[in-house]
Each structure stands twice: as C-alpha cells, then as structure tokens.
Amino acid sequence: MDFKKINKNKFYINWFKNAWTYVVGAVLLSVFQIVTLATTGNPWGVSGPFANWGAWIYRAIGGNVDKWYYFSSEGAQATLNGGFLNDPGSIRNIGIIFGALMATLLASQFKIKKIKSKKQVVAAVLGGLLMGYGARLGFGCNIGALYSGIASLSLSGWVFGVFLFLGAMVGSKLLVKFFM
C-alpha cells in the first residue's frame, strides 16, 4: 500500500479524516454506556474520578481527605484506598484522553494552539473552576448527571438538562459580550 496516497483513500477519509455523524456518535455512546453499566455496575461519569485524582494528589503530598464530607462515605473511602488502577472511572478517563489524542493524530489534525489573549486564560481558569465545583455540588456533570441520569430514567437528569440549557444561554451572552 502506498502511504503517500492514503489521504486520497476513501476508507481513510470516511473513517479517520471526516467527523462521524451525530447519529453514529449517539449510537456508539449508547452502546458503550450500556457496556459500562453492565461491567462496572455504575453508570458512566466523567468528573467524579477527577475529584478522586485531586484527593490522591493531595494525599501524595501529605494531605488527608478522610474527614472531608465529600469523601467521608464508605464507598468513597474504598475507591480512594483501592487506588487509581482499581477505579474504572479513572481508567476510562485516561482512555478518553488517549482516544481523543489518537483520533486527532490519525486525522493528522493535531495542533498545539496558541493562547491569543489573557482574557482566554482568565475565562478558561474561571470556567474550569466553576464547572468542576458545580459538577461536584450537583453530583455529576453533563455526563454523570444529565446523560446517565436520563438514561437511568431519573427525573433529576431532565431537571439538570433544563438548567444546563439556561446556563448555556447566559454563558453565550457573556461570551459574545467579552470575546467579540
């Protein structure tokens, strides 16, 4: 096979270069969240393991989170004591990061973007803090609370969705105001 011609190959273009359709993405996400629930016993979540990562880092530098309300439950303690390699959510998050990297490399669309302004840095840090804090207060992000909530036929997922939508509307107005 001539690799110089690979970017003209129809198979390569359809599978690796062009974005998949929303329908393909939706079907795959649904199939894999069922696999996740069946194999790990918990619905899919993304931001929860990040809180554990924070706790492990804090422990590694000599801190102690045992008395923190968030980590005080038996389940949370068991996860923390079980370690990174025994936490399905952590492994899955690593998989998502490497999978995304692989996809962008295979499409040869990897690029380290330059930071355009200080405003972007401030917005990214503020946004990250608000999202992380909010996701833990709400016991879930748009995956754990919205996606898995609705998939579990829980009303809370729909309530989360309504307020996510309202928040996105306010966010868009702020974005246009500060970044245009």
């Binding site: 974005a19 962008t104 669309q109 690029k111 973007k113 930071i115 970044f179 245009m180």
Partner: protein, 75 residues
Amino acid sequence: MKEVMLDCLGEACPVPLVKTQNKLNELAVGDVLIVQIDHSCAMKNVPEWARKEGHNVEIEEVDDGEWEVVIEKVK
C-alpha cells in the same frame, strides 16, 4: 472585489462563527472573506451557516489542524 482575511486562530466556538457573520455583513456582494480557523467545530459550523445563507464556500486544509474557509458573498 476585495479579499479580506479574518484571523480566528486560537478561537473556540462560537467565536469564529459570530466573527464571520459580523465581518461578512460589512462586505459587499462579490467580495471574498477568508476565515482562518484551527478549531474543528468551526470547520463545520462556519461553512454550514455560510452555505445556508446561499454563499459560495470552499474549505482548504492548509496545515495539520488548520483550515481556511473561503466564502464568496453572493447576495
């Protein structure tokens, strides 16, 4: 018939789309707007919007993860 460059490199959605919409408003029919982007979602929503508005659109991949959306204003 002028050609205008719009630098949207390093900007995330929906900034490139809104900037394109504003810039295209200032241009006259027949002018060409070249939008430089490096955000893959913008590579979808900018051409999609421009085509829906009836403009002529072409996408060029200029580098890894970098595109130029060429829009000819037709009305």
